[in-house]
């Protein structure tokens, strides 16, 4: 499917510009053209698909579903899977959190949703697929869902309600399950233009980070020898995975740009598990989100919440390094 892009990149760089395929610049530019085309095509395609899926499962509906159904633990799986299909912006995390709690959804399940929603989002899926192929992407999505379930379950068992802000605790006491459903009845055909527009906006919003990321990736691809990083980062260093997750947390806004760089790091010798752990830290945990959550929970609870997620990310990093 992507062969066409490779032919185009070869033709453009080697024939039109006449840069040798053996030169550093030839390799770097070829990578840049090929990766840019591939990532943007996949990004637009996947954001559109997710937009369509999401138009059938808007977050209001998901909230009502989780609020009304008690399923003996299965609701963790549902909450986590729903997190995958809904688009997520860290500025929505607080209203979402309150909305869930107000609807009588247990804290653990609310956390499950809050973990998976940012971790497995359309932009991450698209760039992952472009950079690492569909097998690694499926592995990432699967891990994200399991991580949300485990994280939410553990947090739910810790009885953390007392660390919520007092007005939120009052909401829990007065929680009511939702029953009214004010559905917007539009057909897919009516909604499609706005879905496309939305997809275009998402792509536009992250495009600058992607181009910068591919630029850096391309340069490393062309100029660094294969196996360059093996000397510095390898599976033997036990601290590499935790360090990767911690380093990833402050890089949130550049998630779209980080993945194309990490793709090259892996090609040049960084273990894939360490790389996945790093990207999970980048995508799933963000400092701006932590700041916003301060309005509804104590700093201690935020620390427990982030700590639990980070712990499971580190665990998955080690696991991938062992099995991949």
């Amino acid at each position: 499917m992507f062969n066409w892009f490779q032919y185009f990149a070869d033709w453009l760089i080697y024939s039109v510009f006449g840069i040798s395929a053996q030169s550093h610049w030839g390799e770097a530019l070829n990578f840049f053209v090929f990766d840019t085309l591939k990532i943007f095509l996949l990004l637009f395609f996947i954001t559109t698909i997710m937009g369509i899926v999401n138009s059938y499962f808007p977050v209001d509906k998901i909230r009502n579903f989780l609020s009304l159904n008690k399923m003996y633990g299965l609701e963790y799986l549902f909450a986590s899977s729903f997190g995958v299909i809904t688009p997520f912006c860290s500025c929505s995390s607080v209203p979402l959190f309150i909305g869930f709690v107000k609807g009588g959804i247990p804290l653990g399940i609310t956390f499950t949703y809050l973990i998976t929603a940012p971790l497995v989002n359309e932009v991450a899926i698209a760039i992952f697929a472009a950079a690492f192929g569909f097998k690694v992407t499926a592995l990432y999505v699967g891990t994200g869902i399991v991580l949300g379930i485990l994280g939410g379950f553990v947090l739910g068992k810790l009885k953390l309600e007392k660390y919520l802000s007092s007005w939120v605790q009052n909401l829990i006491v007065n929680a009511q399950t939702e029953d009214q459903l004010h559905a917007e009845n539009h057909t897919l055909k009516q909604r499609f233009p706005s879905i496309l527009k939305e997809a275009f906006q998402i792509v536009k919003g992250v495009s600058i980070y992607i181009v910068i990321g591919i630029g850096i990736g391309g340069a490393m691809h062309g100029f660094l020898p294969t196996g360059f990083f093996e000397h510095y980062i390898n599976k033997g260093q036990w601290y590499a995975v935790p360090l990767a997750v911690i380093l990833g947390v402050p890089m949130y806004s550049n998630a779209a740009g980080v993945i194309p760089v990490v793709q090259v790091l892996v090609a040049k010798g960084v273990p894939l598990g360490t790389a996945i752990a790093f990207m999970m830290g980048v995508i799933g945990l963000s400092l701006p989100e932590a700041m916003l959550l301060k309005k509804v929970m104590s700093a201690k609870l935020i620390a427990i919440y982030f700590g639990t997620i980070a712990f499971f990310m580190i665990l998955s990093g080690y696991l991938f390094n062992m099995i991949l």
Binding site: V59, D60, C89, V94, P95, G99
Partner: protein, 78 residues
């Protein structure tokens, strides 16, 4: 007079929506009372889950995304 509310905790998307509302009002010449609701407790009274939310006369018209100028103009003229 129409009452327009923009709900959101002050993220860039919410600011864009707010500015789009002002621009749409200017272009259509409609007078309306525009309020920006940034306080989370106040916001939750309207039962929102995703931000930004654009409300016209207490009805949520656009949820969870930026409403663009043309879209707001259409909603205003309805």
């Amino acid at each position: 007079m129409k009452q327009i509310k923009v709900l959101g905790p002050g993220c860039p998307k919410c600011k864009t929506t707010y500015n789009n509302v002002l621009e749409a009002l200017k272009q259509t010449g409609i007078h309306a009372e525009v309020t920006k609701i940034e306080d989370i407790e106040e916001m939750m009274k309207y039962n929102v889950l995703t931000t930004p939310v654009l409300m016209i006369d207490d009805v949520a018209k656009v949820k969870g995304r930026i409403a663009d100028i043309n879209e707001i103009k259409q909603l205003l003229l309805q």
